[in-house]
């Protein structure tokens, strides 16, 4: 077997994915676009956890944590989409800049 991939490669890819996810979250003016950015950021965090867990082969605590992150992300998206459906019924759009009823 060839030499394993260095840890830094994973960490730099994860950093790039996290930054892209942050940019998507800020720039998209649509709640579902924001959710897509959040998913990208969660994936970047999972990649970090898995990369570090490679050096813990007996317990794999990083991979276990990543598994729980996936579960919580699934729960989060279900509830978020239910809320988005209610909001789109109420406002007729899901642009977060137009949800300003509390400001008036």
């Amino acid at each position: 077997m060839s030499a394993p991939i260095p840890l830094y490669h994973f960490l730099i890819v994860a950093a790039a994915l996290f930054s892209i996810g942050l940019a998507v979250t800020i720039t998209k003016r649509n709640v579902i676009g924001i959710l897509i950015g959040l998913e990208l950021m969660l994936n970047a965090v999972n990649l970090n956890l898995v990369a570090f867990s490679r050096h813990d082969p007996m317990l794999l605590r990083g991979q276990l944590f990543a598994l729980f992150v996936i579960v919580v992300a699934a729960a989060e998206v279900t509830v978020a989409l239910a809320i988005v459906l209610r909001v789109s019924h109420h406002y007729g759009s899901i642009d977060p800049d137009e949800m300003n009823q509390l400001k008036k």
């Binding site: 077997m1 790039a16 892209i20 800020i26 579902i32 990208l40 490679r54 598994l67 509830v79 459906l85």
Partner: protein
């Protein structure tokens, strides 16, 4: 060889992420998210996490992405220049591009500087190519039993709550 595969999947993930950032069509963003999740799953395999890669594909691609596409289709507002020739055109507005891109570039450079200067002292050599399923199963059922049960309850509560929230309480609308 392994490094070349790693670079191609990393390029797939990061390139799909950049496409999500630049596109105005939300449907294309969802499909690009599919490619990004696929790339991340391949990176999981290269990091020795075979079970996690399969879980990623099952939960994200099979569940979360389908939910997102349903959400896009249920909340789209038809515009006047839509025809039947452009069925998957869900254009959205982009805003705050300067702050969003600027902040994330700053964050990326910050993370890059930290990573380059970090000099991690790693505990032992990397994992060899052994399956992780046995270790994960044993750990889940022994030392991580309480979080495992809580995750089950959380999923149940989230499902019931989402079904209740999405219920249309006003049938006349």
């Amino acid at each position: 060889m392994e490094l070349a595969v790693f670079y191609s999947f990393a390029a797939l993930a990061v390139g799909s992420g950049l496409f999500i950032l630049l596109t105005r069509n939300l449907m294309y963003a969802a499909f690009a998210l599919f490619m990004a999740l696929l790339g991340v799953a391949a990176l999981f395999v290269l990091a020795g996490a075979d079970f996690l890669a399969i879980t990623q594909l099952l939960v994200y691609v099979g569940g979360i992405l389908v939910l997102l596409i349903f959400g896009i289709m249920l909340t789209r507002t038809a515009s006047e220049d839509d025809t039947s020739q452009t069925p998957n055109r869900v254009l959205i507005k982009l805003g705050r591009s300067f702050w969003g891109v600027g902040l994330s570039v700053i964050l990326f450079l910050l993370l890059l500087g930290v990573l380059v200067n970090a000099n991690f002292r790693l505990n032992g050599p990397a994992l060899n190519s052994r399956s992780t399923i046995r270790t994960l199963g044993v750990e889940l059922m022994t030392s991580h039993l309480l979080p495992f049960e809580i995750a089950g309850v959380l999923l149940l509560v989230a499902l019931v709550g989402a079904a209740y929230l999405a219920l249309n309480r006003n049938p006349s609308r």
